[in-house]
Structure formats: structure tokens, C-alpha cells
């Protein structure tokens, strides 16, 4: 695949170490994400998948190693810079409990835009369009407590994509859903990401979910192996 090797990696982690107290959550993990691709991160429970995702997204700072995003090293950036980066370039979907219960679904989706300074009216108009696109336009006015788990996840996906991120990080986005709903969320997520050109880093332990990826990497005992093969 000569085309791929020519593409400059969007996000590249090398030899990342991260410890919590005496637990080494990451012990030399590496990962490369290219623009527009969907990478699944797999591995047994407790192997450090979520930690890797947090390091890649600049939510936590790696103890050592490099996390380069478009030529800049996240590990040397200040908290402020990383926050700004997450605001403008990244989107997030988690397993559950990520929507602000007091806000309506529409307002929840509008948050990233409003954090970036978009006016409320415009932000909510764009949020509405994304809800339609993810087939949850009808719950726009409801609060997260009043919608189903699958609908809630699709709202969360809309929120992750609304600000036009270059990378969407998803940690077990279907973990709390049945297979039909889970696949629906995955289909919508990957289609939308493909349309907008966003890359997706997808942590999951479900093979059928990982099957929506272009490529997977396996994390074991804090070490990751990129199975991207030269074939």
C-alpha cells in the first residue's frame, strides 16, 4: 500500500508509558492514525485501552514517550493548549452517562460548538441537522433521561461530530447497547466520520463492532502492537 505510506500520519504515539501509582497502565504503547481511517483498539480488560485513548486525546499526559498530532507533541503541551485542541479538533463518545441531564438533547449536541464560540442560534441549528442525520431528530427537545440508551448514544455521536473534528475518540460506544442498536450506532458513526473525513479511534472488545474499523491494534499488558502489516 504505497499510498498509505505516503500519507503523513495524523496522530502518532510512540513508546508511551503511563503509570498510576505502581500500576503500569501503559508500558510502551504505539499507535498510528491516518486521516479518515477507523482504527479499532482491542485487548483484554485492564490492558490499558482506555488509558491509551486518554493519552492520545491529551486528556491525560503520558509519563514518557511521544504523542504527535499534526506535528505537535501533546505531551509537551500545557493543559490549556490541550483543552483548546480537544475543543477544536477532537470529538468524544463514551459508554454512557455523558450527556448533561439538565440540558435537552439538542442543547447537549450544541455544547461543543458553543464552547468554540458559535452563537447559540447557529449552534442549535447545526446540532439539529446532526440529530436528523443520526436519525434522532425527534428527541431533540427531550432530556437525556427521557430517551432510550440507543437514542442517547446516537445523540452522543452527533455531539462528537458536530464541531467537525479530525479525530473522534470512542471508548466502548456500544458497550451498553444490544447488538442491533450497537451496530446501528457504529454504522452511523463510521458513515458520518467517513463523510466528514474524520478519523475514528474506537476502543472496543466486541469483534462485530471492531469489524467497522479499517484496521485494529491490540493492547496487551500496556503494550500495543500495531498489526498494520506491509502486505
Amino acid at each position: 500500500m504505497s499510498a498509505e505510506t505516503l500519507t503523513e500520519p495524523l496522530l502518532q504515539a510512540t513508546d508511551v508509558h503511563k503509570s498510576y501509582g505502581r500500576t503500569a497502565a501503559l508500558d510502551g504503547a504505539a499507535l498510528t492514525v491516518r486521516a479518515g481511517e477507523v482504527v479499532a483498539v482491542m485487548g483484554p480488560s485492564g490492558s490499558g485501552k482506555s488509558t491509551l485513548l486518554h493519552c492520545l486525546a491529551g486528556i491525560v499526559r503520558a509519563d514518557s514517550g511521544q504523542v504527535r498530532y499534526r506535528g505537535r507533541d501533546l505531551t509537551t503541551m500545557s493543559d490549556r493548549e490541550r483543552s483548546a485542541l480537544r475543543r477544536t479538533d477532537f470529538g468524544f463518545v463514551f459508554q454512557f452517562g455523558q450527556l448533561v441531564p439538565e440540558l435537552t438533547c439538542l442543547e447537549n449536541v450544541a455544547i461543543p460548538l458553543r464552547l468554540a464560540g458559535t452563537r447559540r442560534r447557529d449552534a442549535e441549528a447545526r446540532a439539529g441537522a446532526w440529530l436528523e442525520r443520526l436519525e434522532v431528530g425527534d428527541v431533540a427537545g427531550q432530556r437525556p433521561g427521557e430517551v432510550s440508551g440507543g437514542q442517547g448514544q446516537r445523540v452522543a455521536v452527533a455531539r462528537a461530530l458536530v464541531a467537525g473534528p479530525r479525530v473522534v475518540f470512542a471508548d466502548e460506544p456500544t458497550g451498553a447497547l444490544d447488538s442491533l442498536n450497537g451496530e446501528r450506532v457504529m454504522r452511523l458513526l463510521t458513515e458520518a466520520a467517513h463523510d466528514t473525513g474524520a478519523a475514528v479511534v474506537l476502543v472496543t472488545h466486541e469483534a462485530r463492532v471492531a469489524a467497522y474499523s479499517d484496521r485494529e491494534i491490540v493492547v496487551r499488558d500496556g503494550k500495543s502492537r500495531d498489526t498494520e502489516r506491509v502486505s
Partner: protein, 174 residues
């Protein structure tokens, strides 16, 4: 599963008579169907012809003549490539995969790598099915889903085996 490769793998730990090979095979892999002695004999003949094994010596005796087979360098390489090559994902693959894992453990090769590349192979197929599913009609989707669920079951088995490799290694090399 490839009996030739399995027998070759068994020879890696040292030269054996044909009869010993059958016993070793049955003990580890012939859980419900023992290997016919004739099959051992014909397989060894084929391997001999291909230069993967050699006859180390013939023991004359009262009964039929007994040949001691030893693996050649070419044979070791053959086992190597066989183990490293992921199987084409298809149903009821476990026996082959199991044999491969055990042989890898027996011969001191990294069994985890084997499992990983198998997982990659499975996922590759699953991706293909997933893609086909999203473009096909309902019948296509249902058929794909059927295959996907089976593949997923295999993959789960792979995960589980990977998690228990240490345990298995202890048992196999006992």
C-alpha cells in the same frame, strides 16, 4: 487440519518411530478419532519424498521393520511457515487452531503471535462481511450476520485462549 504439518511439528522435539508418532498425536489431538496407523505411514512417506523428513535408521526386529524418522531443516521451515500462516476463517476451525497453538507451545514458538495474526485474519473477513452487509439487501444482511456471529464466536475463543496461554503452556510441556 493438516496432519502432515502436525506430525512434522511433533518430530521437532526429536526423532521418533512411526508408532510413537501415532501415540503422541492421539494423546494430544485425537480426542475423539484416533489416527489410523496407515495414515501415519502414508503421510510420512509423502514427507520423506518431499525431503521434509529423513530416515535416521531402521531397527530390524521380529515384527515389521521399524523406521526412525527425523525432521530436516526444510521440514522445520515448513512447520514455521505453516504456524505463522493464519487459517482461512471458516467454521469449526478450532481443532486446527488448537493443534497449532499446542505445537507452537511445544516447539517454543510465540503462540500469542499466532493467535494475533489469526485474529487479524478473522477481523479482515468480518470487515468484508460488514461492508457487504451495508450494501446488500436484507437476505444478504441476514446471511452475512450469520457468518459474522460464527466468526465472532471463533474470535472469542481466540481471546479466551490467548488469556489462558500460560496455563496451557504449563500443561502441554509438563
Amino acid at each position: 487440519m493438516s496432519i502432515g504439518h502436525t506430525l512434522l511439528g511433533l518430530l521437532e522435539s526429536g526423532p521418533r518411530h512411526g508408532y510413537d508418532l501415532k501415540r503422541a498425536f492421539d494423546e494430544r489431538f485425537g480426542h475423539d478419532r484416533p489416527l489410523a496407523y496407515g495414515q501415519v505411514y502414508s503421510t510420512m512417506a509423502r514427507l520423506l519424498k518431499n525431503g521434509l523428513v529423513e530416515v535416521e535408521g531402521i531397527e530390524p526386529g521380529g515384527g515389521p521393520e521399524r523406521k526412525r524418522y527425523a525432521i530436516t531443516d526444510a521440514g522445520v521451515t515448513d512447520v514455521e511457515t505453516w504456524l505463522a500462516r493464519p487459517e482461512k476463517p471458516e467454521p469449526y476451525l478450532q481443532t486446527t487452531l488448537y493443534a497449532k497453538v499446542v505445537l507452537a507451545l511445544l516447539t517454543g514458538r510465540p503462540a500469542a503471535d499466532l493467535l494475533d495474526s489469526q485474529r487479524a485474519e478473522h477481523l479482515r473477513l468480518m470487515r468484508e462481511l460488514t461492508r457487504r452487509k451495508s450494501s446488500g439487501d436484507l437476505a444478504d444482511q441476514l446471511i452475512c450476520d450469520h457468518a459474522l456471529f460464527h466468526l465472532e464466536a471463533d474470535l472469542r475463543w481466540l481471546e479466551l485462549t490467548a488469556a489462558r496461554l500460560d496455563q496451557l503452556a504449563a500443561e502441554v510441556t509438563r
